[in-house]
């Protein structure tokens, strides 16, 4: 199951070659959300996490981020098998909880993330150029002066992707929204993610609901429901009995979706 060396040239994976999660568990009070989760993510790999609602998919991402406490070990190992420092993690949240009237432009969001200069006082043209470049990557340069509340679901997702890639992270965590992004937007998003992955040899963990697009883009799939029920290539997982129990026949097998 583990790929070691060979496939990727050393040193090309932005300093980190692998995320090793062993025996990870998360509890909220007495309620067990996740237990005994094991996962290895190698550089350049896209791992998709699927599962029913409440399976703990978003919680897994938040545990990796360090937002929720967890048991078990979580190690980042770099290309030379050394324990890496806390790596740079890019994160695209499932949704932003701000009200649509919040006075914040796309530029403000970028500047507050990437610069220490006070957003409330200045608008340096150098930073503006960087932001435009970053947005260019996801075909969203025209959105720079729009307010966050006025973006559509798909636009917001692309802006957040551009933000997560600035600066280029060791590990990219994507929490796909359940709704609010149309089919075309979703396909565009997956194409962009795949392209970024190839270009920058990124490690990506993607929480997703679209089984068809995962089959096209993911190297590895993790079927999660409190713990790992099945993992492997999309083909392997989709053929497993656990997958059948959760998604039934109309999940993906027929390809009728």
């Amino acid at each position: 199951m583990e790929l070691t060396g060979g496939k990727h040239i050393r040193g090309t994976c932005s300093g980190m070659c692998c995320l090793k999660i062993e025996n990870l568990g998360v509890k909220f009070g007495k309620k067990v959300i996740l237990s005994d989760v094991n996962l290895h993510v190698h550089c350049g790999e896209l791992t998709a996490v699927i599962g029913p609602n409440g399976a703990g998919k978003s919680t897994l991402l938040k545990a990796i981020l360090g937002e929720v406490k967890h048991t078990g070990s979580l190690q980042f190992v770099n290309a030379f098998s050394e324990m890496a420092q806390r790596p740079l993690i890019g994160y695209v949240p499932q949704h932003l909880e701000f009200d649509a009237g919040a006075p914040a432009s796309v530029f403000d969001l970028f500047m507050s993330c990437t610069s220490r200069l006070p957003v409330w006082l200045m608008k340096p043209s150098g930073i503006r150029k960087n932001v435009l470049n970053a947005l260019e990557r996801v075909e969203a340069a025209h959105l720079i002066d729009r307010s966050l509340g006025s973006l559509s679901g798909g636009e917001l997702q692309r802006v957040l992707l551009a933000l997560a890639l600035e600066p280029l992270p060791n590990l990219l965590l994507l929490d796909e929204p359940v709704s609010g992004v149309d089919r075309k937007g979703l396909e565009l998003f997956y194409d962009l993610v795949s392209e970024m992955r190839k270009r920058h040899d990124l490690s990506i963990i993607l929480v997703s609901h679209d089984l068809e697009l995962i089959a096209q883009h993911a190297d590895r799939v993790l079927l999660l429901n409190g713990t790992v029920l099945s993992s492997g290539t999309p083909g392997e997982v989709y053929a497993s009995s656990a997958f059948f129990e959760i998604f039934g026949d109309n999940g993906f097998r027929g390809g009728s979706k």
């Binding site: 949240p93 914040a104 500047m111 993330c113 307010s147």
Partner: protein, 279 residues
């Protein structure tokens, strides 16, 4: 230094109302107070902390009561320490508790204000200035002290605003950018606590939260970016602050309350603008 200010006022604003020294002092004080309220208010509103900052006012009130009880020379320091501690406790509870935040704040806020009232009522009674404020009695020494606070807050705001703003957008996102939300929030609330405490006796506990929330709420109606949000909020605070001072002089009304009424007026005006232009 104050002489220079007095001369400047006589030169620029040669009116009857500025001929009094207390009005000149109050005007300078308002020019310092209001921008701070405008600045801090932006993130209080964006982080949905209006009720929280109200509770901080209550904490500061009790802090002053305790400071007076301990008979220290200047109760404002005890009060500042107490309200910083109070703000830290509420932030921690807010962070770790799963209970509804506004209930928790409500409980703490009412406990504190009752404690303060009990302490004060046993002593000299409750000074009116703490309730409705008394900006007309501010002295040059106190203004100088506030100038120091003003400078510190501006510097801190330059340093932490980006982080506070990002947390207001999304905590997880902030975390992924290496920001510690808890520490940032504690620093932010401690700043509010100090500003509220030192300005409490001039602005008044019944007034202070309105001056923090209303200008920012008004700015939010019409701003489209963080910069314009701050600019409108500070401008709105300055206009209602100075306007309130002048109007209260001619109407012979409570200064703080007049300021708040003006701020409310600006809020409703911007709300109308927002409704008209949002199609």
């Amino acid at each position: 230094m104050m002489d220079a200010w007095y001369r400047l006022v006589d030169l620029v604003l040669p009116f009857e109302w500025t001929s009094h020294i207390f009005m000149k002092n109050a005007l300078l004080a308002v020019l310092l107070f209001s921008p701070l309220f405008g600045l801090l208010g932006t993130m209080i509103v964006s982080n949905r902390m209006a009720f929280f900052s109200d509770a901080l006012g209550h904490g500061a009130f009790t802090g002053i009561a305790i400071g007076g009880l301990m008979g220290l020379m200047d109760p404002v320091w005890t009060a500042a320490l107490f309200s910083i501690a109070f703000s830290v406790v509420i932030t921690l509870i807010k962070h770790y508790s799963k209970a509804s935040t506004d209930t928790v704040i409500g409980v703490f806020s009412s406990t504190t204000i009752a404690t303060g009232l009990v302490i004060m009522s046993r002593g000299k009674g409750i000074p009116n200035s703490l309730l409705v404020g008394d900006i007309l009695s501010i002295t040059p020494g106190e203004i100088a002290f506030f100038l120091g606070i003003f400078a510190v807050v501006i510097v801190l705001w330059i340093l932490i605003l980006n982080r506070v703003f990002l947390i207001s957008i999304n905590r997880s996102l902030a975390l992924s950018r290496g920001i510690n939300p808890l520490w940032t929030e504690m620093l932010f609330t401690a700043i509010i606590a100090v500003v509220v405490t030192v300005s409490l006796q001039w602005v008044g506990i019944l007034i202070i939260n309105s001056m923090l929330v209303l200008p920012a709420a008004a700015a939010r109606n019409i701003a489209g970016s963080v910069r314009s949000y701050h600019a409108f909020s500070v401008a709105s605070a300055l206009v209602s602050g100075t306007g309130g001072l002048v109007l209260s002089y001619f109407w012979n009304t409570a200064t703080g309350a007049t300021m708040v009424l003006l701020a409310a007026l600006i809020y409703f005006a911007t709300l109308a603008v927002k409704i008209r232009f949002r199609k």
